[in-house]
Amino acid sequence: MNTRYALIRGQRPSSSAQAALQRKPRWHEMAIQGFLFFCGALSILTTAGIVLILGRESWLFFRSPEVSLREFLGTTKWQPSIGQFGIWPLVNATMMTTFFALLVALPLGLCTAIYLSEYASERVRSSLKPVLELLAGIPTVVYGYFALTFVTPLLRGILGRDVVEIYNTASAGIVIGILILPLITSMAEDALNAVPRSLREASYALGATRLETAATIVLPAATSGVAAAIILAISRAVGETMIVAIAAGAGPAFTFNPFKAAETMTGHIVRISGGDLSYDSMDYNSLFAIGLVLFLITFALNIVSRWFVQRFREVYE
């Protein structure tokens, strides 16, 4: 302490003080820092490794004379056995299940989040949140059979057996919606909770009702966080595998009818790779191409989400 004051006053520190100020290595500090760096680097390296593998195998796929990038992106038939590799049936099925998932999870999740953060008493909150978290803990295989043995019969009962096939993208999508519901709810609620109390007070003090406050002050102020929640939930829905593998159908089909069977990208990968697949065959490599497309979609969604958060984040002063 004395040395510090001596320095501030501009006096020359004595030689012993100078020795005290010398930099000395702090070994265990450095060891911890190294370990933490290693942990961070590991996840980056893993990601890089995955991208590398995906890229290499896809490269092998596109390099072969049987398929071109134009055919891959420009045609609507996916039949590897006869050499037709148009990705759209798979992408289309994924988009349909995701759409139905959002149809369920978006309104329900947002309303639940608003209820929890703006209306619910502490007692209701503390009992509702664990239930929601339980929903997140159910294995997806259970969800898959829930779709196949409960939601599908329900849809068939309502809309008629000739309308709804046993395997269909709608019921898989609805159940994916239930799966991502806790994700949207809890992230959106966090975003709503992060809106400062003072804004709510300002609103109430101007004679706003709870609904006016929630819908026109709190929700817009939480836009960035809520949007990020939704986008992450979309990524989750796009990547969901087990439910679609069980309930959506087992065969690529290019259809916009949600009550017909169709196979999503993930569903196709899991079905094909589950059978006998010889290494280095076209089929084998095509899976990596699909995987790469999946990766690019979720990667793009993540970027959009980050952009959203930065673009719309409000800084409250």
């Binding site: 101007l206 004679g207 002050i217 409000e314 002063e317």
Partner: protein, 279 residues
Amino acid sequence: MTAIHVLTATARLAPVQALAAARCESDCALEARQLSVYYGAFRAVKDVSLKIQRQKITALIGPSGCGKSTFLRALNRMNDLIPGSRTEGEVIFEGCNIYAPGVDPVEVRRRIGMVFQKPNPFPKSVYDNIAWAARINGFRGNMDDLVEQSLRQAALWDEVKDKLRQSALALSGGQQQRLCIARAIAIRPEIILMDEPASALDPIATLKIEDLMHELVKNYTIIIVTHNMQQAARVSDYTAFLMMDEDRAGYLVEYGPTDEVFTNPKDRRTEEYITGRFG
């Protein structure tokens, strides 16, 4: 008539006094009767009775933690929003107890506005901050005129007339606070509660707010909480001095015209506080 007399005039009235009380009723914008506020088991305000004069500025002063903000927030039922809070006693506004069953706190807050310690504009444009407040209160009319008029009344128009579409968060702290005042008066309340409105501002911005209060009091009744005694002395017509007892519950020590409270306090504790011997 001094406000101390007004205070005692609430109960047990002889006919003559009743007449006096009735006359004062027209000057009285708001009256707290035996008002107590609890947070859970903790009593933050104890039996405060106080009559607020119409179109005057009343300052609530007292040491920190004495419950003056809590008392202020009880006057437009803002404490309702705090889980576990409870209010006893009455607040009479236009002949009606705002804590009576069947009274809608939303309506109460439309008539009794509030400005907070920290400026809290909405993350919307300057224009929308005011337009939003007017719109939710059912305003139908020329919004541009209302916005301009409110901003002029809040002495902010000249500074922001070219940035109406910009975010309110881009304004300086003092401008934000005047925007909050503009927003509060856009819905034409009868009373404006101000909870240390200048304590987060620099001296010049503070002065502007005080000047503004002098303007506003021509049309509104203002109640201000402040921990700055010079400010209370500068701006207010009436001053109420609150203190806390050994259980940290706030109670009213003295209430009267500001001149009297500051120059000739009746209570020794008021004198000690004002002369800076504690608090």
